[in-house]
C-alpha cells in the first residue's frame, strides 16, 4: 500500500511535469516566432508527433488492430465522425480479435 504522503508528492510531481510540457512548448514557440516563415513549420509539428506514435503502433499491431485502424481511417475519411469511427474500431478489436488473431 502506497502511503498518502508519497501519493501526494507523486501527483504534484506529475501535475507539474505535464503542465510544464504544456507551457514550455508555447514559450519556445514565442521565442521562435520572429523567424520568417516559421508558422507553417510549427503548425506541422503535432501531426509529426501523431505519426511518430501511430506508425510503430500499426507496424507491431495484430491483424485485428490493423483492420481496426483501417476502418477508423476509412470512416474518418468519408464521414469525419469520431464516435462512429472509434466505435467501429473498438468493435473490430473486441469482437474480431478472438477470430482474427488466433495462432
Amino acid at each position: 500500500m502506497v502511503d498518502a504522503n508519497a501519493t501526494f508528492i507523486a501527483i504534484a510531481m506529475m501535475a507539474s511535469i505535464v503542465y510544464l510540457t504544456r507551457v514550455t512548448g508555447y514559450f519556445i514557440g514565442l521565442q521562435l516566432r520572429h523567424i520568417r516563415g516559421i508558422q507553417p513549420v510549427l503548425e506541422a509539428l503535432p501531426g509529426c508527433a501523431f505519426m511518430a506514435i501511430l506508425a510503430p503502433a500499426v507496424r507491431q499491431g495484430s491483424i485485428s488492430e490493423i483492420l481496426a485502424m483501417a476502418c477508423v481511417v476509412l470512416i474518418m475519411w468519408r464521414t469525419n465522425n469520431v464516435v462512429i469511427a472509434t466505435g467501429v474500431g473498438m468493435a473490430v478489436l473486441l469482437f474480431g480479435g478472438p477470430f482474427l488473431d488466433t495462432g
Binding site: V2, A4, M14, R22, A49, A52, L93
Partner: protein, 229 residues
C-alpha cells in the same frame, strides 16, 4: 468572435471527443482501483494532471515504495507531445494577457488543438481550446469517478483488447488534422517513414519521437524555404 463565445463553441463542438475521453476515463478509473489507489487520490490525479497517457503510464509503476524518478521520466516522455501542441499554437493565442495564457494553458488538449485548426479565422483560439478543455476535463473527471466506483463490475473483464484504443483515437485526430489543417502532408509522411525505420532499428520510444519530429520539421522548413524563394 469573443473569447467567451469561442469557449462556448469549443464546448459545443467537443461532443465526439467527450465520448472517447469518457471511455478512457472509465478505463483509468477501473485500472486505478485495481492498483489500490484511494478514490479521491485518483480523482485528484485526474483533476490536476489531466492527461490520459501520462496517468496510465504512472499506474504501471504504482507500487510501494513509489519509484518517483521512473514515474517522472515516463510521464515526461509520454507528455512530450504537449511541447509540440504548445509550439503549434504560438501564433494563435495572441491578444490575451500573459497571465491568462499561462493559466489557461493548463487545459491545452490534443483534440482541442486539432479541431481549432478547422475553425474559421475569427474564432478566438485560446477561448476555443480552453472551452474544449473544460469539456474534456468534465468528461475525464466524471468517467474516472464512475470507473472507480464501478470497478468491481469489471473485475473479471480483460481490458487487454482495448489497449489499442489510444492509437485509434489518435488516428481520428490525425485524420481531422490531415483534412482540416492548411499544412501540407509531406512532413507527416516523412515523420511516419522515419518512425518506422527507427522502430525497425530497435530505437527507444523517445528517440523515435525525436527523430521523426526532427525529420518532419526539416521537410517543413525545406517547403517554406522553397515557397519564399
Amino acid at each position: 468572435m469573443t473569447t467567451w463565445h469561442s469557449a462556448q463553441l469549443g464546448i459545443r463542438t467537443s461532443g465526439d471527443y467527450f465520448v472517447s475521453t469518457f471511455l478512457f476515463g472509465l478505463m483509468f478509473g477501473i485500472a486505478a482501483a485495481a492498483s489500490g489507489i484511494e478514490n479521491w487520490h485518483a480523482l485528484l490525479m485526474s483533476a490536476s494532471v489531466f492527461t490520459a497517457s501520462g496517468q496510465f503510464a504512472a499506474l504501471e509503476f504504482w507500487t510501494a515504495p513509489l519509484p518517483l524518478g521512473t514515474i517522472a521520466l515516463s510521464v515526461a516522455l509520454v507528455s512530450s507531445r504537449n511541447l509540440l501542441l504548445g509550439m503549434a499554437m504560438t501564433h494563435h493565442f495572441d491578444g490575451h494577457s500573459l497571465r491568462r495564457r499561462i493559466v489557461w494553458l493548463f487545459l491545452l488538449n490534443d483534440p482541442g488543438v486539432v479541431n481549432s485548426f478547422r475553425m474559421q479565422e475569427d474564432v478566438d483560439r485560446l477561448g476555443y481550446v480552453t472551452g474544449y478543455g473544460v469539456s474534456m476535463m468534465t468528461s475525464w473527471l466524471c468517467s474516472t469517478f464512475l470507473g472507480l466506483n464501478a470497478a468491481y463490475l469489471f473485475a473479471n473483464l480483460d481490458l487487454g483488447a482495448v489497449d489499442f484504443a489510444g492509437p485509434l483515437v489518435m488516428a481520428t485526430m490525425m485524420m481531422l488534422f490531415f483534412k482540416g489543417s492548411k499544412s501540407r502532408p509531406a512532413p507527416w509522411i516523412v515523420s511516419g517513414i522515419i518512425a518506422l525505420i527507427l522502430f525497425e532499428l530497435g530505437s527507444a520510444d523517445y528517440l523515435i519521437l525525436l527523430g521523426s519530429v526532427l525529420g518532419g520539421m526539416i521537410v517543413a522548413i525545406v517547403q517554406v524555404r522553397r515557397d519564399y524563394g
